[in-house]
């Protein structure tokens, strides 16, 4: 995804990635969040991203020269070192004994259970989220409309 020159290809790769993550959520018995992942990420956010890519008409990505200065190289080296370390650990670790899925895991991810938690214990954060979304709507409209 990060190696593609064309941002549209990056976006399509990211959509595939999101769908795979939704399947992993299903594997983890989180049904509601798997559906939300598809609807919100691939349905709303990525459509918005692709819409903006096409709106800005960035087909000639090659003009956008990718310079490689020292800062960027150091960052990339650190990140790829971390990736190699993860792969090393993954290959040479023993996963035979570990925690098992919780016996009640199937009942946790249901709409009913998450709804009870959202409107019970987490009622205040839920309401604050609605305020955040309202602020985001207003901010997006004003930013995209006026000259800054």
């Amino acid at each position: 995804m990060i190696l593609r020159r064309n941002p549209v290809m990056s976006a399509i790769a990211l959509i595939a990635n999101f769908c795979c993550i939704a399947l992993l959520y299903l594997l983890l018995q989180a049904q509601l969040l798997a559906v939300l992942q598809i609807v919100i990420y691939t349905g709303a956010i990525m459509v918005l991203v692709i819409f903006v890519i096409m709106l800005l008409n960035l087909g000639d990505e090659e003009r956008l020269t990718e310079r490689y200065d020292l800062k960027k190289i150091v960052g990339a080296v650190i990140v790829f070192g971390f990736l190699l370390e993860m792969l090393y650990l993954f290959v040479f670790s023993d996963f035979s004994e570990g925690p098992a899925l919780h016996s009640d895991a199937t009942n946790i991810g249901t709409v009913e259970n998450i709804g009870r938690a959202l409107f019970g214990k987490f009622l205040l954060p839920f309401e604050v989220t609605s305020l955040l979304l309202l602020a985001a709507i207003i901010g997006a409209v004003i930013l995209a409309k006026r000259k800054i």
Partner: protein, 101 residues
Amino acid sequence: MEVPLQYYLFLSAIMFAIGVAGVLTRRNAIVVFMCIELMLNSVNLTLIAYSSFLGDVTGQVLVFFVMAVAAAEAAVGLAIVIALFRNKQTINIDEINILKW
């Protein structure tokens, strides 16, 4: 036969590293933005994995809030990208330095 918890954590760590690599190396503002989404998703995966393995609903509620914040961030971030492009005709983040002193 179920997937062990460690696999999810490794996948999450690797996805996060790929997102960080994208943010550090790419110059296209929209690609940087998508890499941030990738990092948010890797954290979500960790939260849900722990939530299912520990039998606690809190992790999934937290993922719900992260998704809401990500949607808000997407709207505002893309609006900023459009406004910047309208003013400077570029979305190369090396050329956008009006907030630097």
